[in-house]
């Protein structure tokens, strides 16, 4: 059976794992300040993190929280692990930064370090590099979290050689930002005492709506 073995949700300057809030920052903090706080609480040392744009940082942290305490990365074949992400704004937040750098011809400063983040699938690339995951990739754009699309597509992959997947939503658009990532694995490879839910649309929707945010 294909199951969701862990999931994380980041929103409102809070992080929840498997439905429970595990980290909370001052609600007045800006997104960069919150991301920096969340990074510190994980005790990570990953210099590449600091080069990422906000969307990649958010996706990276959400994946870290979902993976923390699981055996996912050691139990799966990383060459047969897919990363399927989605959002509504593509890379628009960084697109605006790049556009701003070319708007004024007398102050023209396009930068490759910014431009490379004007593609949404760079978040997939950053996760692939961190975890050495080399399987299937796809970045879909939808108006809101499309559980049907994500579950259906992940299932097509699981039927054709993929054995595990990191799936979800990673979005930064001005003051609107959110990440929700779940890990999919075949239950044959997991500890029988673990808690998991079968991969289907209603599981994803339930888990997405499960967290009670405190403000």
């Amino acid at each position: 059976m294909n199951a969701i073995i862990s999931y994380a949700h980041i929103k409102h300057n809070q992080v929840s794992v498997n439905g429970e809030v595990v980290f909370r920052s001052d609600s007045a903090l800006s997104l960069p300040e919150f991301l920096s706080d969340a990074y510190k609480t994980l005790g990570l040392s990953y210099p590449k993190f600091h080069k990422m744009d906000a969307q990649c940082k958010l996706g990276f942290l959400c994946a870290e929280f979902a993976l923390k305490g699981t055996e996912f990365l050691t139990k799966v074949d990383l060459s047969r692990t897919a990363i399927v992400l989605s959002n509504a704004a593509s890379s628009l937040e960084t697109d605006r930064v790049h556009q701003h750098s070319i708007d004024d011809k007398s102050n023209y400063f396009p930068s490759p370090a910014v431009f490379v983040y004007t593609l949404p699938n760079i978040t997939i690339g950053e996760l692939a590099i961190k975890y050495k995951i080399t399987g299937e990739n796809a970045f879909f754009i939808s108006e809101q979290l499309d559980a049907e699309l994500l579950v259906n597509y992940t299932e097509t992959l699981l039927q054709s050689g993929t054995e595990a997947a990191i799936v979800g939503w990673v979005e930064v658009d001005g003051t609107q930002w959110e990440a929700f990532i779940f890990l999919v694995q075949n239950t044959e490879n997991i500890n029988k005492n673990s808690i998991f839910k079968p991969l289907n649309q209603s599981t994803v929707i339930t888990q997405y709506n499960q967290t009670i945010w405190t403000h």
Binding site: P112, L119, P120, K132, T134, G135, N152, E155
Partner: protein
């Protein structure tokens, strides 16, 4: 069995696949050195003439209501709907749109009559859905330069899953100051027509195009090209976000997966071949590692430039046409070997009896994809 069926290509070389094939078969290229509205210096790009767009679109609708990409997409999708006779309102039909930047020119304030919200890809897709009255909201894929070929692979998977019978895969991107300035900041742009795989290659030309392919499980609709999508795969290098793996790991992984039981008789490989030093070198190594040394290789970027989200769809459509005519297309711009892998470039147009080809692509974010297409008998 899943078929690649009716196609359209809109590019500087024409507004139909036939026109495009005719131009390429006669070695005409869409890449030209020209002044662009926002530049002080000329750029080598493949740009669709505005007057041509206006002329074609005037027979279809009011241009003030649609962005340039929307107009081109409407023309391209309509052509495939006309050829195939499929109904967009049918619940078994899906539009899958592949793009990197969509209506990015909205950010440049190019339109006074367009809702700025359509810079969002889902709003762009919704606009196309409303225009054609598609039953389902289109699925949008934005996965850098592999978007087009990955969209074809995804279409096949959705049909195999039983959700749809027909998926219209449309890929499109336009030339914009946004992308040109970005690639320029990477020093990835060539100031002359690009030379994929050549020793003297200096980088890419950007191009604009929209291309549509109908992917279907309907044998009758598939009879145009009589071509099946045998297999497809994507893979990540897990190496670098803006440079390919030196050893071609991700592309090699794709090739070994799609070739599993089909290593014999590959007619040719339509490579990504952007003409950047690193990309073409990486591809030569991956093809070599996959045992494809004797299989003829071309890049179509010398004719179209790099058309980003359209590239995989356009290059597949042209390759289907090439297989229909049983003729290999020369890799434009290639003269002298400029790579270390042992591969065979196509140096002139030539007749050849063949029944399969591979399309590959690689892109930012370390992504790679490849698909195998095969002509079926009868």
């Amino acid at each position: 069995m899943i078929f690649a069926s009716y196609t359209n290509i809109i590019s500087p070389l024409g507004f139909s696949t036939e026109e495009n094939y005719e131009a390429v078969a006669n070695s005409r290229t869409g890449v030209k050195k020209m002044m662009l509205p926002f530049s002080q210096d000329p750029f080598c790009v493949a740009r669709i003439d505005d007057e041509n767009i206006n002329q074609y679109f005037s027979g279809v609708g009011a241009s003030a209501e649609h962005t340039k990409l929307e107009q081109l997409s409407i023309l391209s999708i309509q052509d495939v709907l006309n050829q195939s006779g499929i109904n967009p309102q049918d619940s078994r039909t899906l539009l899958l749109y592949s793009t990197t930047k969509g209506n990015i020119d909205i950010l440049e304030n190019r339109y006074s009559t367009i809702d700025r919200n359509r810079v969002y890809l889902s709003a762009f897709a919704h606009h196309l859905q409303s225009y054609f009255k598609f039953k389902h909201p289109p699925v949008v894929l934005s996965n850098a330069c592999i978007s087009g070929i990955l969209a074809i692979i995804i279409a096949k998977r959705f049909i195999e899953q039983g959700r749809y019978d027909n998926v219209l895969v449309c890929g499109g991107d336009i030339l914009s100051e946004f992308t040109i300035s970005g690639f320029k900041s990477f020093n990835a742009m060539s100031s002359e027509p690009s030379k994929p795989f050549d020793a003297n290659r200096t980088g890419i030309n950007l191009g604009e195009a929209v291309s549509t392919i109908l992917i279907t499980n309907n044998k009758e609709l598939g009879s145009g090209y009589n071509t099946e999508i045998v297999s497809g795969a994507s893979a990540n290098d897990a190496n670098h976000i803006s440079g390919p793996s030196r050893t071609g790991d991700g592309l090699f992984q794709c090739l070994t997966r799609i070739l599993a039981e089909n290593t014999r008789d590959i007619g040719f490989v339509s490579a990504h071949g952007t003409a950047t030093p690193f990309n073409d070198e990486m591809e030569s190594i991956a093809f070599d590692r996959a045992g494809l040394h004797t299989v003829p290789v071309n890049s179509l970027k010398g004719y179209y430039g790099h058309t980003l989200g359209a590239a995989g769809v356009l290059e597949t459509a042209l390759s289907l046409e090439s297989m229909k005519h049983q003729r290999l297309i020369k890799s434009e711009g290639y003269e002298t070997k400029g790579f270390s892998g042992n591969i065979t470039m196509i140096t002139s147009h030539q007749d050849k009896l063949f029944s399969s080809f591979i399309k590959t692509a690689s892109g930012f974010g370390g992504c790679n994809a490849a698909a195998l297409f095969r002509k079926i008998n009868g």
